[in-house]
Symmetry: C2
Subunit: 442 residues, 2 copies
């Protein structure tokens, strides 16, 4: 949306809406002096509106490190580096995902790298030996995300410490204490992204991505009108090694052509009661899933089907049928559940001694408690309004889960196995192959 | 922040920054024709920027009804009108307050009037005989706000129905059923503003503002490290008729020179337990205050002092000392508590039969339950992270109330009665009088 060229008088002259405006405001009747004042006044108003835009959208653009030239003075080569794991907690509902994307706005990684660069812990992303354990999509959160990375060290010896290429340091102890990685990063991160722990890695080939041996997710939801026992009955049928193509969005275009994955455990529990001693639609619940690796949108698809089971619209055994890819090679076109409640809660690694710095811990807990308070006050206020209003309704309304489950609201429910189908894996492979052939030819 | 008066040429002429701008852009060198084009171009640019603001932050610019000329076809004069009360529930944290303000972004009233105009329930704000019961500030919510207003009626007779000036209708029943006021407005309002009930007013002079005989507020907060019994002990001392100048922001400039008000009741309760059977810093509590009329920021000031009492920093009896305006004519400069938890919960009127339309009720409950779910999921997720993280801290961190109480975080606490003081009422009156004298003279 560029500025109109203010020297393009012809364009302005002939625009019918502007001719009307011209007449309406009687600009012709103003003196030159008055017109000049009006121009100045309008230019000021334009600037004020621009300021409003800049202020309003400050949260929509990634933090950019400006004036990298100033950083040239920082002599990274004088320091050794340390291969470490960092455990990162983030609430993703204001972000466009974990991974950096061109022009897509703020991501967790963009904020993370801004903090790493600003605190001079890395020279650049490219030279930092960075690996991430999991990749969460837009709006998804994580309590236990882990990255491995090489950070500047204050010390010359210790687990994980090594001489980087081009090291020009003196090998005498520069400092007594290691950089407080958690604390310095947290001071440079927004409230909704925090480093909760770190661990030195003696094995400098250790990778957060390839050495992770298990990832757990939590999915939070209100009880609403759901039967949790039915949901758990269906959920247990997902345990074990299975072909999960009917429980994900297939990503054949990116080379994903095999869909065997393993779920090690799945539980469904009420974790927070609205009223003591009784079940309520306002109780909060969670599904906890433990596995090794997951397909694209796998948990959200699983939750969508579990919600249908919990609402009584499907039997728990529909899970078994959807896992039978010979009988059912095409995924029914159900909507996947909402992204908001999804949290990559735990990434498991063997033999890691996580260090929880106490100064940083106090700061992180205060920040998270502040965040919790803000949301809890809003939640409680809305709850109080509903408590006063519901008695005036003759019908009991139980819509707490509706927006989360994203289930279609048809008057007559279409069973999963009778729903319209997505293309099968074979069809998708053919489509992608054709498209590539066409690309090659053109 | 109003628009610059574009006819105040002298003001513009003599502003040094504008003189500079004038020279820089060589406006004097342009012809009148060129200046006119520039004005039109800038006016268009202002509109484009307003559209960007509206699009980028859909929640920040008031909904504007465009092309009012099209509405001229709607023949309001053919309909009778009905004097009614509307009960309105809104969550104000995304708004700039209840009352419309020029260029200040979205307010509850701006959205309300947009809906009233769009649904053809009123011809204009000016001719709608509109009164509001209470006026809430930026960020503040209300479950029980009430307005009185004259709406278009489908009927020709019934309680509150009258012939407006210029009525040209036929006095035969136009329709069988009254307009479903709640439903039609709610379909045109955002999720966080809803009309919950309406009532016809046989007495066409009935005013939501002047005929209200009591207003109650709720203030929601977490238990944190607060002693609720201490808070209630202090709170009870506020009951009765008192001079509350030390519990408000004085508004002498707007003519408020007397500060006697009456609080009829005040309670402090835990309304939601984090864990069954035991007190927890994560319990949610509320203060409920019933009175007739209030001073500016009175509840937020009361809460600030109650929080200091609850934290053990002040004795409950400090309330009595602050109500003794002879001994303490100047308010200690304590920060008032946060706006987020404040809710104008109930506005009381005698002999009103509120009507809760069931279709509208179902829609409102679904909307509020969806809002509740979104906030509850976030709250529960953050709670789960804290639950996992807190055991790693050697120190127990109890900061849940900090941001809400807005209490200063000095290393050594300064007691209220020893704090720096705000000017006394007499001093403020003198200041305002002097300023007015200067204005009159200039």
């Amino acid at each position: 949306m560029g500025e109109e060229s203010i020297s393009n008088i012809d364009l302005v002259k002939n625009d019918p809406s502007l001719l009307r405006l011209k007449k309406e405001t009687n600009l012709e009747n103003l003196s030159k002096e008055e017109l000049i004042s009006r121009v100045i006044s309008l230019e000021k108003h334009v600037q004020q509106l621009r300021n409003v835009i800049a202020k309003n959208s400050a949260s929509q653009m990634p933090t950019v490190i400006e004036n990298r030239k100033k950083d040239k003075k920082f002599e990274f080569s004088k320091y050794k580096r340390r291969h470490v794991l960092l455990k990162i907690c983030y609430f993703g509902w204001d972000y466009m995902g974990f991974a950096v994307q061109e022009d897509a706005g703020k991501t967790i990684e963009s904020e993370l790298f801004a903090a790493l660069l600003k605190s001079k812990l890395i020279d650049s992303r490219e030279t930092s030996n960075y690996h991430r354990c999991g990749r969460t999509d837009r709006g998804v959160s994580s309590y236990g995300q882990v990255i491995s990375i090489d950070l500047r060290s204050n010390l010359t010896e210790g687990p994980g410490i090594f001489e980087p290429e081009g090291y020009t340091g003196t090998n005498k102890n520069i400092k007594e204490e290691e950089v407080n990685y958690c604390n310095i990063l947290n001071r440079n991160l927004p409230d909704n992204i925090k480093v909760t722990a770190w661990a030195p890695l003696s094995n400098t080939k250790f990778s957060a991505r390839f050495d992770c041996n298990g990832r757990s997710y939590k999915y939070f939801f209100p009880r609403g009108n759901l039967d949790l026992k039915r949901m758990e009955k269906g959920g247990k049928l997902l345990i074990g090694p299975h072909d999960f193509r009917n429980f994900c969005k297939m990503d054949v275009g990116n080379g994903v052509v095999e869909y065997m994955r393993r779920i090690d455990s799945l539980t469904v529990q009420c974790v927070h009661r609205d009223k003591q001693g009784e079940d309520s639609p306002y109780d909060m619940c969670q599904v906890n899933i433990v596995g090794k690796a997951y397909l694209w949108h796998q948990i959200r698809c699983i939750m969508a089907v579990l919600f249908l089971i919990g609402e009584g619209k499907e039997e728990p055994e529909v899970i078994t049928q959807l896992l039978d890819v010979d009988a059912n090679p095409c995924r029914p076109a159900y909507s996947m559940a909402d992204y908001l409640p999804l949290n990559l809660f735990h990434c498991n690694f063997d033999d890691i001694n996580w260090e929880y710095d106490q100064v940083s811990m106090a700061y992180v807990l205060k920040t998270l408690q502040k965040l919790w308070s803000e949301h809890s006050v809003k939640t409680q206020m809305i709850r109080s309004c509903l408590e006063d209003l519901e008695p005036h309704s003759q019908e009991q309304i139980c819509s707490q889960v509706e927006h989360i489950s994203q289930a279609r609201k048809d008057k007559v429910y279409t069973p999963l196995l009778k729903m319209q189908k997505c293309p099968s894996l074979d069809d998708k492979i053919l489509t992608v192959a054709k498209r590539r052939k066409i690309d090659l030819e053109s």
